[in-house]
Structures are given as structure tokens and as C-alpha cells.
């Protein structure tokens, strides 16, 4: 006697405790098992690409802060690189090094939030994320010392950075670089071999390698599936070819690999920071660029390895002070393409973990 059951539709989000922002999943559940899942975006759409067409090239920089608001230093860097490529503006050496230091610090801060909220979704009651936010506060202190803000930095300018780093910045950074490896070991001791976390995340939400390439995933999600592809190594922008660091990759592409890849990437960032701090030259931090830049007619596509993936800016200029077209290649929106394939067949408890392991930021998805 077959009991007739029919799946019921549950809307997880947009105001759900663990959807990392306003994101809705129309999930069809058969009991606890997920049968189908359709993501719904648009709750945080501000039309940044339309706004940018009315602002000067410098006025667009505060807009880029609000794309992926957890990594706005990387957004600034990507935008400035694209404009410099478009207008052919040189960048002094010291500014390049300061940009690398800021971008790598931002990568650590963004990964801390990503790993912390992933472990929080697994159920570890607020402890890992509170430890990681404590470390992130130290990075935010450094950012505040340099540019005055803790979230939307608006620090980088076309042709360099807005202000030089104050003299108490380097000793503080040095102290941070000495302490941080100890904190990362502590996170590993806390949960790396925790049997329950292994049971919950190993083999869950697998993103196979070909599917990852086919859905053009990028960033830790892509490398966790075993693809050794990092823009800093594949297409080195600014001065990344002067540092040696290696690219951590996962094997299977499940939630546990994504968690491990992010932890190891933090350690690699610390290596880059140490080398960048030693080679930091003297000199001014900004080439003389007119306040209203008028790039020649043309287009340019600049991309960097942002913490969440390959962040690209496609700018078209018609020799006026405002960009004719300002398109953002949002890594988090494209990483969500394979979300349905990763989730079907798993249970409700896994849906939250798989979604948490992709680490999205709604500001960048909806733009």
C-alpha cells in the first residue's frame, strides 16, 4: 500500500535567519528532502549600473563600495584597475604595494565572515563567528586608521590611493601578522576535525569539476572543485607576479572543501602581506590625474581575484566625464547558477549549509 504523499512548497527567505541577506529560495520539499529549488533575487536591486552612468569616474568609486559591502577594498581596486586600463594611467610603485596590502587584508576579513557564518549555519552556536569577528575587528581598525571608515572605504582612486598610510600603520600590521597565524590555528583546533562538522559537511552539496567550469563559477567555490584557477596567478594584475604564494584547491568540491580552501587562502594572504610589507618602497601614492578624467573613446575589461571570485568591470567610455556603460561581472550571482544542482536530493538542514558554503553577498548579486 503506497502512501500518497505530495511535495509542499516552502519559501525560505527573504527574511530567513540564515539567508545572508534578502534572498529567497522557492523550495519544493518532499518531507525533509529537497525536490526542487528556484532562487529569487532582486530584493536589494538599487540599479548601481544605471546610477554610475550619471556620475564622474571618481564619483563612481563610492558606488563600488556598495557592491560587495563585505569586500569594498577589492571592489575599489577592480574598478580603479579597469579605469586605468581604459585611460592608460600609470600607478606609482608605493601605491601598487599599498593596494596589494589592502586587498589581501580585505580577503582575510571577507573569508573570516564567510567561514564564520558557514560554521554558524552548521549549528555551532555563535562561537566560531564571534571569534572570527574579533579578528575581523582588528583588520577593520587598520582600515579605519588608513581611510577613516570601517565598511565603505572609498580609499582607492584612479591612479593610486587617496592618502598615504600613517606611520603607526606598519607596526600595527606587523603585530597583526605575527598574531594571526596563531588565531587561525585556534579556529582549526576548534572545528577542523570536529566529527559532527565532518559528518554534516563532508560529501554534502558537491559541485563537480565540469559543472563548475560549465557554470563559470569562480573563487573559492571554483577552486574547491579541484580547478587550479586564480586570477592572481593566471592573469596577474598590478604587481601580484612579484609575490610567491600557492593556490589551495579542494578535491571533491563539497562544503568541507570550500571551508578548508578559504582557511588556507587566509594563510596564503598572510604570506603575501609579509612579503609586500618588506618590499614597500618610498614615494608618492598617486600619479597626477585630473579630477575629472576624460578617458579616450573605447572599452576596457579589468578583472581581479576578489574574495568571492572573479570580479570584473566592463567600462565603455565616450570621452565624456561619466562612463557610457558600467557593467559589473558579479562572481556571487554567477556562483549561484549551480545552486539548484548542488541542493536537489539533500535535506532541509543541508540546504542551509550548502547555501552558506557558497558565501554570497546580496549587494553584489542584485547590484
Amino acid at each position: 500500500m503506497v502512501i500518497k504523499t505530495e511535495p509542499f512548497v516552502v519559501n525560505i527567505g527573504p527574511a530567513h535567519p540564515s539567508t545572508h541577506g534578502v534572498f529567497r529560495m522557492r523550495t519544493t520539499l518532499d518531507g525533509e528532502v529537497i525536490v526542487d529549488m528556484e532562487p529569487v533575487f532582486g530584493y536589494l536591486h538599487r540599479g548601481i549600473e544605471k546610477l554610475a552612468e550619471e556620475r564622474t569616474y571618481t564619483g563612481c568609486i563610492p558606488l563600488t563600495d556598495r557592491l560587495d559591502y563585505l569586500a569594498s577594498m577589492s571592489n575599489n581596486l577592480a574598478y580603479c584597475l579597469a579605469v586605468e586600463k581604459l585611460a592608460g594611467i600609470p600607478v606609482p610603485e608605493r601605491a601598487e604595494y599599498i593596494r596589494v596590502i589592502m586587498a589581501e587584508l580585505q580577503r582575510i576579513a571577507s573569508h573570516l565572515i564567510a567561514v564564520g557564518s558557514f560554521l554558524n549555519d552548521c549549528g555551532a552556536f555563535m562561537t566560531p563567528i564571534l571569534y572570527m569577528i574579533r579578528e575581523r575587528e582588528k583588520i577593520l581598525d587598520l582600515f579605519e586608521m588608513v581611510c577613516g571608515q570601517r565598511l565603505t572605504y572609498n580609499y582607492m582612486r584612479v591612479g593610486g590611493v587617496s592618502q598615504d598610510i600613517p606611520d603607526e600603520f606598519l607596526p600595527a600590521l606587523d603585530k597583526f601578522l605575527k598574531e594571526m597565524p596563531g588565531w587561525i590555528d585556534e579556529y582549526d583546533r576548534l572545528l577542523k576535525e570536529n566529527e559532527i562538522l565532518l559528518a554534516r559537511s563532508k560529501g554534502v552539496g558537491i559541485l563537480p569539476r565540469e559543472l563548475a567550469v560549465n557554470t563559470s563559477a569562480s573563487g573559492p567555490v571554483f577552486r574547491a572543485s579541484g580547478v587550479k584557477w586564480d586570477i592572481r596567478r593566471a592573469d596577474p594584475y598590478s604587481i601580484y607576479d612579484r609575490f610567491e604564494f600557492d593556490i589551495p584547491t579542494g578535491s571533491v568540491g563539497d562544503c568541507y572543501d570550500r571551508y578548508r580552501v578559504r582557511i588556507e587562502e587566509m594563510q596564503q594572504s598572510l604570506r603575501i602581506l609579509k612579503q609586500a610589507m618588506e618590499q614597500l618602497p618610498k614615494g608618492e601614492v598617486r600619479s597626477d590625474v585630473p579630477h575629472l578624467i576624460r578617458p579616450p573613446v573605447g572599452e576596457a575589461y579589468g578583472h581581479i581575484e576578489a574574495p568571492k571570485g572573479e570580479l570584473g568591470f566592463y567600462l565603455v567610455s565616450d570621452n565624456s566625464i561619466a562612463p557610457y556603460r558600467f557593467h559589473v561581472r558579479a562572481p556571487t550571482l554567477i556562483n549561484l547558477t549551480a545552486l539548484r544542482d548542488m541542493m536537489v536530493g539533500w535535506k532541509v538542514a543541508d540546504l542551509i549549509i550548502i547555501f552558506g558554503s557558497i558565501d554570497i553577498c546580496m549587494g553584489e548579486v542584485d547590484r
Binding site: 532582486g42 560549465n214 584557477w229 593566471a234 596577474p236 570584473g312 557610457y324 550571482l333 542584485d366 547590484r367
Partner: protein, 148 residues
Amino acid sequence: MTVALSGEEIAARLEEKFPGSVVESGADSLLVKSGSWLEIASYLKTTAGLDFDYLTAITAVDYYDYFEVVYQLTSIKHNHSLVVKTRCYGRDNPTLPSVVSLWRGADFQEREIYDLMGISFDGHPNLKRIVLWEGFEGHPLRKDYRRW
């Protein structure tokens, strides 16, 4: 270092494979006819030497008398990239063949271009507005979009 393949070199190969499909080829980009774009795309993806298996980004730009859609392709194996452009004319219902069948990464990006720019992609499995709500009329990213 990702080698950006030059437009002419690829244009030459495409010319003898698909005669008359390459409109113009600049130093770093390649303009192809929208009609034969799908075959060119599958050719680029499948031939041994090119292997463009990773679609980095799709962008649509509104140049008033035509829409230009720019595809940034990359090959993970050979670490080289190519920029291919197609144009579609007409402002009421410009259409282009969808490449979701080749690269599933284009799914959300094409839906976003449909939603904000108004270019519809035939062959797309689920062409709906991605960011704006269903009842929204007009496509905001078009140059002639008047808010009120």
C-alpha cells in the same frame, strides 16, 4: 599570463570555416553576425586548439541604433581569452540566440540582460525577469528609459 588572442587571427580561421560571418575584427575583439553566432560559439568551444570552455562574462551595451552584446571567453586549459561581440538591431524586440546550451554560466547573465536591457534570448530555458518584479514595464538600462 592570460594571452588575449588577437581578433584577426581568429577571424581568419572563422572566415574559412563559416564564410561571411565575421563582420569586422579589431586587435583584441571580434564582431560576428548574430545569425551564425551559435555555430561559431560551439566551434570556439569544441575545437582542440581553442577550447573556450569558460564563459567569463556577458555584457550588453545600448548604442542607440543597435545593441552590442560582448562575450568574454576564456580557456582554462590553454589560459587564453577572447572577446567576441554581436550586434542586434531594432529597439522593440531585439533577439539573439542563447548560449545556455553551451555554457550554463550564461543562464543568469542572459536573464539579467533580458530584464534590464530588453534583449530576448531564444533557446533560453527560463527567460524571466531576474532582478525586477514581473509587472515592471520597460527596461531601465536602456539609454532612452525615462523614469517618469
